[in-house]
């Protein structure tokens, strides 16, 4: 089981709700992923529009826990206000906090992120911050009261997988009591497995499933990869080494010591 702010879940795969070819495929993919937590966003509604209501009824049919996000926010003020709107709209104090510094990389503004996280936690929010793999930033977020930290693997939607393995590994070692989630940049189930093998408690992804040729099958593949990676971590992986070490016993090798 994995814990998010004292709530226990069996699924370690958090999934986004955007970019699917159709609403039906979105629902089927989320079910195939086995995800119990889905991320949603909030946007302006045109007068008389029902876009939000239609989407919201699809999510409610899934019977999942909703993690609203502040995607697209560029300032602390925007992010904090959006979080408060999300709390009203979705009736949850959970917020996936994004404060974006740069349009091309969607790199988190880590300075604004720490400030926004501290403000929201004081207001009773349970914050899931989308951050970089920087240990200093992660420690500041924990000091501010975050019990979950979500570093990127690579830029959002880039599908590059884990680009800074050593830093992610260090975060796991240094923050053993924090729920760590790799959020963003995963492209293949093997990337998700790697994150879980490093001891990450969960992964959060969207594009890699939604943009697959068959999102439903890909969602199932990520589900298996996350389970495999987590099992491997619990089993204890051997350390890599520089030289060969025979797995077949040497003693008793036929013709051993025979002079050729």
């Amino acid at each position: 089981m994995v814990s998010f702010y004292d709530r226990e879940f069996s699924s370690r795969l958090l999934i986004g709700t955007a970019l699917y070819p159709s609403p039906k495929i979105m629902q089927d993919a989320i079910r195939a992923a086995g995800s119990q937590i889905v991320t949603v966003s909030l946007r302006r509604e045109t007068a008389g529009g029902k876009t939000g209501d239609a989407f919201w009824s699809l999510i409610r049919e899934l019977d999942v826990t909703v993690l609203p996000n502040t995607a697209g926010c560029k300032t602390v003020r925007e992010a904090v206000t959006t979080a408060k709107l999300a709390r009203e709209l979705f009736g949850t104090s959970w917020i996936k906090l994004e404060v974006i510094a740069d349009n091309d990389t969607l790199q988190p503004d880590v300075v604004g992120l720490v400030e926004a996280a501290a403000t929201l936690i004081k207001d009773g929010f349970e914050v899931f911050p989308y951050c970089t793999e920087d240990i200093g930033v992660a420690m500041r977020l924990v000091e501010a009261g975050c019990k979950v930290v979500m570093p990127w693997a690579a830029p959002i939607g880039s599908a590059k997988g884990i680009t800074n393995r050593d830093a992610l590994k260090l975060l796991r070692e240094r923050l053993p009591d924090i729920t760590l989630v790799v959020d963003a940049g995963l492209g293949a189930p093997s990337h998700a497995a790697q994150a879980c093998e490093l001891g990450y408690d969960a992964v959060l992804l969207n594009t890699a499933v939604a943009k697959a040729a068959d999102p439903v099958v890909m969602a199932g593949a990520f589900r298996l990869a996350v389970e495999a990676g987590h099992s491997a971590y619990e089993a204890g992986l051997m350390e890599a080494r520089d030289f060969a070490s025979p797995s077949t016993p040497v003693v008793g090798t036929p013709f051993w010591h025979a002079v050729s």
Partner: protein, 65 residues
């Protein structure tokens, strides 16, 4: 009076948030509201007076990752 609704300037007759939602045909929609970056719980919509120049955000759920 003139206010800005979702980034668009418009002339409205409503004097409260509740009346504005009615006027703009949002009344049966699941929305959250901020006026000048102040998020208003539903319990305050009826008695929150709008002023000329207010910036109002009317927000609904949407796909996200």
């Amino acid at each position: 009076m003139q206010v800005t609704v979702n980034g668009e300037r418009r002339e409205i007759a409503a004097r409260t948030v509740d009346a504005l939602l009615n006027e703009l045909d949002y009344e049966s929609t699941h929305v959250a509201i901020a006026v000048n970056f102040d998020v208003l719980p539903k319990s305050r919509w009826a008695d929150t007076a709008l002023r000329s120049g207010d910036e109002i955000e009317i927000i609904t759920p949407r796909q996200g990752g």
